[in-house]
Subunit: 83 residues, 2 copies
């Protein structure tokens, strides 16, 4: 399954709790689109959020965010992960 | 130890092998700065690269990239990771 990393715009003042709540909404919706949100990273200073997901397509990953909470990333990349 | 996610500019045409070689150079240099590069993600379509590291500071994480290969990110964020 393709892997996607999406990059949300900085949202100064957004709290960890607000981001966690949005993520819970993603998890509640994702099965409908065949998507699995795996991890996210949140910078409390800038409010920047990055989300890693497995999805059948970029559009499917975005559809989850759109339906779950409407907070859309500026960019989304289909990525390969390496250690 | 703080966690950092850095975002490199898109580099169309950059190969997975070139990115892997740069990453190997990071790994060879990181101990000098007390840094551990953990994972990276590479988009073969755009050449976009994201690197996740543990480092004592943003400056230390950047110093590794600077000394190892000189390919610097546009942005670096101190992040918290969630599942």
């Amino acid at each position: 399954m393709p892997l996607f990393l999406d990059v949300h715009p900085a949202q100064p003042g957004v709290t960890a709790e607000a981001v966690a709540e949005a993520h819970r909404k993603d998890l509640a919706v994702q099965a409908k689109y065949g998507v699995r949100y795996i991890k996210y990273w949140y910078d409390p200073t800038t409010g920047k959020v990055f989300c890693l997901s497995e999805a059948p397509s970029k559009e499917a990953a975005l559809a989850v965010h759109r339906e779950a909470h409407g907070q859309m990333p500026d960019d989304i990349f289909e990525v390969q992960e390496y250690e």
